[in-house]
Each structure stands twice: as structure tokens, then as C-alpha cells.
């Protein structure tokens, strides 16, 4: 009789076999006249995707049926856990996360192989072969080194359960989203390798890659935002981003992808920056693998943790092999990577993109360097050092501020060069907005220079983006003769790439607002509260009403009811608390009491730190997080922008421009 463990192992084993076949036949199918083999490789990948899906479903079934004969299920779930959470436990541990990783990669590989064949038929077979090789590694690790289907010799009556910090809705979406992001960087990587192998780094390549990079970038971005949201609500330290190594390694590929999405436009339009784009596409994936390696191997906690599991050396070897192959290919193909034209002016749109890339890559490199520096130190002199938030704030802060300003400047520059007259006309309104906002804030008594500049920069960006929207709609309505509102809608839907991009920029400006607010104006104070005695903190009045103790079968909980009056007089309440889960007594979980005010989106963030058993007094830590809510709003706007850009359907139509092109073409081409 086969149990779920056997079925899972069988599915994974066949998936691995299928991938090996796909890799071999895919590689052999690259020879001239062997396209039947290439086709077979593609079909094999579809089969692998089905088998990997099956393996994942089997693991989920094991979790739902509480099959504790599987070590992984016993380690990461318990009977007390509600069903949706049980499913989230699939990625609560290493082997399960790897299965999710391999599953997403297999589905993505099959899908990409099928889709790229239509878009870029020259590149598709090579890309398929590369993806199959990558998949061999991950499925191999699952089959031979870290399987979620390993069985225990004795079946325990109950599992150990999931770390209570992960008992949260965000934890049901954050890990798979981030994994999807990490994994999706494989397609741009495979396309870059394919283009180098074929020897055609042309517009087809850059366009096809752009679409897949957009996918990876939006998954990664959504994963990062939801991770921040989880940290803010659950971890209970009042912040959302700590420059923790795990966060850093997720941010770096996102930054490189952002750089690619911008520099790709320069190649599409002017045929320049080919080497650069190839390097960005390759390194985004290499660094995504590095991120996984860092998170999974424990190497950053200590070099010595590296060898405790086989996974460290395996990933390190894979990372090394992938990097060496990529570098060798780029060097070998240098001749075909030469640009087709040159930069004409430092005040052109393409120069703007160049500086955007400079800033993004510098932030990525500084973050990477800070993350690995403790490792460098430990290897070089045997002493552990820490690199924390102060370093990143001082190094990345100014770079990010410059980047923010560039979000406003870049889109207003013209291709080739921007005339002075035009620059003055375009920059007038955004600059005036920035000056007005900074002046107003200074008038209200804000005297710190850096926040004044930063708020000015946000105003500048919002002004610039709004002007771009208005200008686009105005031009269209004047030429075609429709109302401004109709023109705005048409312009939005026919040039979704551009205007979706602006929406993303708007999201970034809102996120910047939250970072400035919490970065410069965060307040923190421990407060002792006695029942019914109001206490005032930063304009908020807090009145502690009642302490409630409650017990459920698997947890004990204490909640403090606190009535608050906001500075503007509105009355609300927060209920900070603590809960202790059975089996996790050493890790009490904070239940944060958060009150968000509109429209300042400022949070009163209250943590219960101590209490009197009689219920007469409590000690709370009060944190005021100004503007923090704009982080979540900005995240939603970012995602809305991505949807505008990526929504399938309406092809890119430019009625006005096409007419002009036709009018111009005959005159200009016949000398």
C-alpha cells in the first residue's frame, strides 16, 4: 500500500527524470536539423510541470490530513492549526520552500517555453534548454538532499507546529510571492544566455526579456511590500524594514530589475547599452540565487553554519557554476554587444536612464557589500562584525533621495537632447510645486534641512507625473477633438506602458513619503498607564480602561483596552496584547495596537510591555509613525501601475504619432 510519502517521492523522482531528459534533449536539439529533439524537450518540461504540481498537491494533502509520518509535516504543523494555516506551513520550512521553488520554476519554464516560441522563435530552444538545466539542479536537490517526503521511523501523535510569528495572513502570501519573484528571474537569465549563444542581442531579445523581467519585478516588489507589512504588524518593533540580510538579498535583485526595465528602453529605442542589459539580466538571477543561498544556508549567521547542511555547499557550487558560465559567455560574445549608436547629450532621456541605472546599481551594490561584509570579515580575520541600519541609512539614504528626484526629472527629458527653452517650460510647474511645499512646511515650523529637501522632492515628483498626464491628455484632445476626460482615458489605455510607468512612479513617491515620515519624525516613548488615568503622548491622550486575560486550548492571551483621543479630537481605541502559544513559551507574540489617522496616515503604534496582575496598571511602548500608511497605499498604487503596464489585450496604438510618422517618412527618407 502506497502512502502519501511514497507518492510524493515517486512524483518528484519522475519529475527529476523528466527534467534530465529535457535538459539533454534540449541541448542536443540545438544542433541544426535536430528541432524534433528541441520540441521533445519542450513537451517534457510540460510533463515535469504536471508532476511537480502533483508533488506539491501531495504535500498539501499530507498537511491537511495531518500525516505526521512525514518528518517535514511533523516539524511544521500541528493538529491545533486551522486548515489555511496548515497549507501555509508548506513553506514554513526548508524542504517545503524548495518544493514550492521547484514547482514555480517548472510551471514557469513550461509556460515560457511555449510563449517565447511565438515571440522570439530564434531564442526559444536555447532558453528552454537553459531552464531545463536550472530545473535539474533544484529538483535534484529535492530528490537527493532535502526532501519534504522523508519519513519518520516512529509516527508522532502530534506535530511541533509552526512558529507563531508565522500565524498571519501575510505569511500565507508573502513567501510564495517572494519565491515567485526570485524564481521568475530565471527566465530573463535564460533569455540572456540564449541570446548570447545564438549571437543575437537585438530588439526582439530586449522586448521579450522586458516582459519576463516585469513579471519577476512585480512579484518581487509585491513580496517585499507584503513582507514589510507583516514585519510591521507582527514583529512588534515599530518598523517595517530593518536592513536585515534576508531583506537585503531580496531587495538587490528587485533593484537590478528596476534598472533593467529602464535601460531596456534605451536599447529598444536607440540600440545602445546591450552589454549592460545582458549583464543586468544575468546578475539579477545570480543575485536571486545568492539570496536564496544566504537565506537557506545560514552562512551569514556564521561561516561555520555553512557546512552543517549539505545545502550550503550545493548552492554555493551552483552559484559559482552559473556565475562563471555567465561571465565567460559575455566575454566570448563581446563583439556582438557593441552599441548601434552613441549618446548625444547629457540632457537627453537616455542619459537620464543612464544616471537612473548608476543610482540603482550603486544602491544594490552598497546593499550587497554591506550584507556580505560580516562574512568577508569573518573569513579575512576571523572576527565577526555587524553592519546594521546606520550604515545603510547613511549610504543608501542620499542615493535614494537622488533617485527620487530623478523620477521627476527623467520623464521630462526628451530623447537625443532637451533644449533649454523646453526644459524651462516643462520643469516650471513641478519645481514651483516643490518650492511651494517646502516653503509651506518651513512656514509651519519645519526647520530640518534634509526632510525639507526630501518632502520637496516628493512634491516635485507628484507635480511632474501629474503634468505628464495632463499634457498627454491635452495634446490628444486638441488633435483628435475629444473632451479632455475622454482623451485622458484613451491616452491611458493606448499607451499603457508609459502611463502605467507613471502610476508606478507615483507609488514610489508615496512610499518615499512614508519613509521620510518614519525616518525623520518617528517618536518612541515608554508610558506607564493607570486605570482610567489619562496620559498624553505627542498630542494623543491615552486612557487605559481594562486588562483582559483569556485562554484558549493552545494559547493564553492578555489584552489591554486603551481609549485614545487623537490630536484632532477624534476618539478611537487600541488593544495591544500579548499571547503565548503552547509549545512556544519562550516566544511570546506581541499583538500590536495600531490606530491609523486619515489623511495623515500616521499610526499610533502601541505595544504592551508589562502589566500588573491585578489589572490596575500597564506599561506600554508608544510609537508614533508619521505618514507610515502611505507605504501601503504606495504599494497598492505600485501594483495598480504594474497591472496597467502588463494587462493583456489592447495592443500599443498611437493614433496621433502614427499619422505623423507617415507624414514625415517620405520626405525624410528620400534625399
Amino acid at each position: 500500500m502506497l502512502d502519501l510519502g511514497d507518492l510524493g517521492r515517486i512524483a518528484l523522482g519522475f519529475a527529476f527524470g523528466g527534467t534530465v531528459y529535457a535538459a539533454v534533449s534540449g541541448a542536443l536539439g540545438l544542433r541544426p536539423g535536430a528541432s524534433a529533439l528541441a520540441l521533445s524537450a519542450r513537451n517534457a518540461l510540460t510533463g515535469v510541470a504536471v508532476l511537480a504540481t502533483l508533488a506539491l498537491l501531495i504535500l498539501m494533502a499530507a498537511f491537511i490530513s495531518h500525516d505526521f509520518s512525514l518528518a517535514f509535516v511533523a516539524q511544521n504543523s500541528s493538529r491545533a492549526m486551522p486548515a489555511p494555516l496548515t497549507l501555509a506551513a508548506v513553506w514554513g520550512g526548508q524542504a517545503g520552500s524548495l518544493l514550492v521553488w521547484a514547482w514555480i520554476l517548472s510551471v514557469l519554464s513550461a509556460f515560457a517555453s511555449w510563449r517565447v516560441r511565438l515571440r522570439a522563435p530564434d531564442l526559444a530552444p536555447h532558453m528552454t534548454a537553459v531552464l531545463a538545466f536550472l530545473l535539474v539542479f533544484f529538483l535534484g536537490v529535492l530528490v537527493f538532499a532535502s526532501s519534504p517526503f522523508d519519513e519518520l521511523p516512529i509516527v508522532p501523535p502530534d506535530g511541533q507546529g509552526l512558529n507563531p510569528l508565522l500565524w498571519d495572513t501575510a505569511m500565507q502570501i508573502h513567501p510564495p510571492l517572494l519565491t515567485a519573484g526570485y524564481v521568475s528571474f530565471a527566465v530573463p537569465f535564460a533569455l540572456a544566455v540564449a541570446a548570447l549563444l545564438v549571437g543575437k542581442v537585438d530588439r526582439t531579445w530586449v522586448r521579450t526579456t522586458r516582459g519576463w523581467m516585469l513579471l519577476a519585478w512585480s512579484f518581487q516588489g509585491a513580496g517585499l511590500i507584503i513582507g514589510a507589512w507583516w514585519a510591521y504588524r507582527v514583529l512588534g518593533w515599530g518598523g517595517y524594514w530593518g536592513w536585515d540580510p534576508v531583506e537585503n538579498v531580496a531587495l538587490v535583485p528587485w533593484l537590478l530589475a528596476t534598472a533593467y526595465l529602464h535601460s531596456a528602453m534605451v536599447q529598444e529605442r536607440r540600440g545602445m547599452l546591450k552589454t549592460w542589459n545582458i549583464i543586468l539580466a544575468l546578475s539579477a538571477y545570480v543575485l536571486a540565487i545568492f539570496g536564496t543561498f544566504v537565506v537557506r544556508s545560514g552562512v551569514l549567521t556564521s561561516v561555520h553554519a555553512f557546512a552543517t547542511s549539505l545545502l550550503g555547499p550545493l548552492f554555493f557550487g551552483f552559484l559559482g557554476a552559473v556565475t562563471i558560465a555567465a561571465v565567460a559567455l559575455v566575454i566570448y560574445r563581446r563583439p556582438i554587444l557593441r552599441g548601434e549608436s552613441h549618446f548625444e547629450s547629457a540632457t537627453s532621456r537616455e542619459a537620464g536612464f543612464l544616471i537612473n541605472n548608476l543610482l540603482l546599481v550603486s544602491i544594490a551594490a552598497a546593499t550587497f557589500w554591506g550584507t556580505i561584509f560580516p562574512l568577508v570579515s569573518e573569513i579575512a580575520r576571523g572576527a565577526k562584525v555587524a553592519v546594521g541600519a546606520p550604515f545603510y541609512n547613511q549610504v543608501n539614504g542620499p542615493l535614494m533621495l537622488a533617485l527620487l528626484a530623478l523620477i521627476g526629472i527623467g520623464p521630462m527629458l526628451s530623447w537625443h537632447r532637451t533644449s533649454f527653452r523646453r526644459a524651462v517650460r516643462r520643469f516650471a510647474v513641478p519645481v514651483a510645486t516643490a518650492v511651494a511645499v517646502s516653503g509651506l512646511l518651513a512656514g509651519f515650523g519645519l526647520r530640518q534641512g534634509l526632510p525639507l529637501i526630501a518632502f520637496g522632492a516628493v512634491a516635485f515628483v507628484i507635480g511632474a507625473v501629474s503634468i505628464e498626464f495632463v499634457r498627454g491628455a491635452q495634446t490628444y484632445s486638441r488633435h483628435v477633438g475629444v473632451s479632455l476626460a475622454a482623451a485622458a482615458r484613451i491616452v491611458m489605455t493606448t499607451n499603457r506602458r508609459r502611463y502605467g510607468g507613471y502610476v508606478v512612479h507615483l507609488g514610489m513617491a508615496l512610499i518615499a513619503l512614508a519613509i521620510i515620515g518614519t525616518g525623520f519624525f518617528k517618536l518612541e516613548e515608554p508610558v506607564a498607564l493607570t486605570r482610567d488615568q489619562p496620559a498624553v503622548v505627542a498630542g494623543y491622550t491615552l486612557t487605559f480602561k481594562e486588562l483582559r486575560f483569556s485562554t484558549a486550548p493552545d494559547l493564553t492571551r492578555v489584552d489591554a483596552d486603551i481609549l485614545i483621543t487623537r490630536p484632532d479630537g477624534i476618539i478611537a481605541d487600541v488593544v495591544p496584547g500579548r499571547q503565548i502559544h503552547r509549545g512556544w513559551e519562550s516566544q511570546p507574540i506581541s499583538r500590536v495596537g495600531i490606530d491609523t489617522s486619515w489623511p495623515a496616515m500616521t499610526d499610533l503604534y502601541v505595544l504592551l510591555t508589562a502589566w500588573d496582575e491585578s489589572g490596575d496598571s500597564v506599561t506600554v511602548r508608544v510609537i508614533i509613525n508619521p505618514l507610515v500608511g502611505y507605504l501601503w497605499i504606495g504599494g497598492l498604487v505600485y501594483f495598480a501601475g504594474v497591472l496597467v503596464v502588463a494587462w493583456p489585450g489592447t495592443p500599443l496604438r498611437r493614433p496621433v504619432d502614427r499619422r505623423r510618422v507617415e507624414a514625415l517618412a517620405p520626405r525624410q527618407t528620400s534625399p
Binding site: 512588534g236 518593533w237 515599530g238 518598523g239 530593518g242 536585515d244 534576508v246 536607440r270 540600440g271 557593441r338 552599441g339 548601434e340 549608436s341 552613441h342 549618446f343 548625444e344 547629450s345 547629457a346 542619459a351 544616471i355 548608476l358 550603486s362 551594490a365 552598497a366 557589500w369 554591506g370 561584509f373 560580516p374 568577508v376 570579515s377 579575512a380 580575520r381 572576527a383 565577526k384 562584525v385 555587524a386 553592519v387 546594521g388 541600519a389 546606520p390 550604515f391 549610504v395 542615493l399 526628451s414 530623447w415 537625443h416 527653452r421 523646453r422 495634446t475 486638441r478 518612541e524 506581541s590 510591555t609 504619432d657 505623423r660 510618422v661 514625415l664 517618412a665 525624410q668 527618407t669
Partner: protein, 150 residues
Amino acid sequence: MKWILIVVLALGVGGAFTAVASAEEYEQEMWEIAADLACPVCSGQSVKDSNAPLARQIRALIVEKLEAGEDREAIVQFLVGRYGEGIRLDPPKSGFQLGVWLGPLVIIGVALGMVATVLWRRGRTQTAAAGLDDFVARVDAGLARRREDE
């Protein structure tokens, strides 16, 4: 007798007030110091943000040392001696750790150099692959001129 009692009480209350005031003062400074220290038993949290017993002990120790008149650098040095350099979240800009600060500077310097080279090379040679690019360029310029005229 009564007078003595009042004086003693006043002194006591006054003393208590100064003690409270300075404790608050020290607390403020303590949080600032704690923000730049890594909690030795947590992953990725500072002594300020962590609720671990050790973090609380370190915070109490900092207040104690501040009260004893030690300055920030002396306290940090003491903690580095006890827990190792790994406790400093803010790497010193000297010795080996200067490297972590120099890294980004070198990167930005090299990147700036590359961008400058690319931008300066402009105009020296004319467009190699004319064809489409040239056409697109002229269309762009034409469009820009028209927009300018509007």
C-alpha cells in the same frame, strides 16, 4: 523639630525629582546608544528593538554606566569587549571596518567614471548602423519640433 522635618522632606522630594529627571535624561541617551547595538542573541534586531532578556539587561547596564558617568564611546567599547565587534551595528570608520564604508564609495566612483566616459564619447563617431535608427531619430526630432510649435 517641625522645621527640620520639612527641610529633610523638601530635600528628599527635591532629590527624588532630580533623580527622576536624570534617569529620564539617561534613558533618552540609552535608547540612542541601544539603537546602534545589535542584540547578541537575536537575528537582525537592535538592543533597542529587541524584547529578549539579554537586550533588557544590556539596556539596564547602559543606564547604570551612564549614571556612573561613562560616555557613549566607553560604554560601546566595554560592550565590544564583552560581546565582540559583532555588537556594533554602526561600523566604525577606521581599521578593517573602514572597508565597508569605502566599498560603496569605490563602486559609485567607478560607476560615475563609466557614465562620464559613455557620455563624453558622444559625437566623436557618427551613428554606425544608420538605417532604422537614423530614421527613428529624425522622426523623433520632427515630432519634438511639432510639439514645440504647439
